[in-house]
């Protein structure tokens, strides 16, 4: 029943590793997003995809590569992980035309810790 689901919930990994976070939504939304919540709880958009097309790419290092195989899925792959990548990553979805009316539905977040 979960509307926006992310896996894994927790991820602990060493510097230099490559990891992926998966996100799926069953709401029929056409747009999906990745947000990063840093240690100060600040939320910043990273990417958005509309119907598998990249729409927003907010000055994120090239080590971060989103992939959207279909409009219900948006995965985030991170290469060569660094200590500064430690954060909570939230996936969200919406209908792009109704964001102003209804906002987003968020996933439960993935807490990434790089050691």
């Amino acid at each position: 029943d979960t509307a926006v689901s992310q896996t894994p919930k927790y991820l602990v990994t060493q510097m230099g590793n490559d990891k992926s976070i998966k996100c799926e939504q069953n709401l029929g939304h056409d747009t999906m997003y990745w947000y990063k919540q840093d240690s100060k709880k600040f939320l910043k958009i990273m990417f958005s995809y509309n119907n598998k097309e990249l729409i927003i790419n907010e000055t994120v290092p090239n080590r971060f590569s989103p992939k959207s195989p279909d409009k219900a899925h948006l995965n985030l792959h991170i290469n060569s992980l660094e200590l500064g990548d430690s954060a909570v990553y939230f996936c969200a979805s919406s209908r792009v035309r109704t964001v102003a009316n209804y906002g987003y539905t968020f996933g439960s977040g993935t807490r990434l810790t790089v050691v």
Binding site: V4, T31, Y33, Y35, K40, K41, F42, L43, K44, I45, S48, N50, I55, I56, F90, A92, S94, V96, R97, V99, A100, N101, Y102, G103, Y104, T105, F106, G107, S108, G109
Partner: protein, 110 residues
């Protein structure tokens, strides 16, 4: 385009009124939201400016003159303790982008 929540932490006693401040800078009339994040949970939509609703006793009024959208509750409850984010949706949509403020942590003491 910017959303500012000037208070990082707001601490009140149970039963006291609470006001979480949100100011925005945007040349136009944006749509505004309040999101709430309870401890280690997902962000949940609390209320939307467009619907003028009251959820869990919270209300927010858009003041275009002061470019503010403060969140208010007359009597705080302990279960209101959470992180609160104000967010703005630009009218030109910009691919569905929501711009969030820095968040205010509300702590309601017994």
């Amino acid at each position: 385009q910017r959303v500012t929540q000037p208070e990082k932490l707001l601490s009140v006693f149970k039963g006291a009124p609470v006001e979480l401040k949100c100011n925005y800078s945007y040349s136009g009339s944006p749509e505004l939201f309040w999101y709430v994040q309870y401890s280690r949970q997902r962000l949940q939509l609390l209320l939307r400016h467009i619907s003028r609703e009251s959820i869990k006793g919270f209300t927010a009024d858009l003041n275009k003159g002061e470019t503010s959208f403060h969140l208010k509750k007359p009597f705080a409850q302990e279960e209101d303790s959470a992180m609160y984010y104000c967010a703005l949706s630009p009218l030109n949509n910009q691919g569905g982008k929501l711009i969030f403020g820095q968040g205010t942590e509300l702590s309601v003491k017994p």
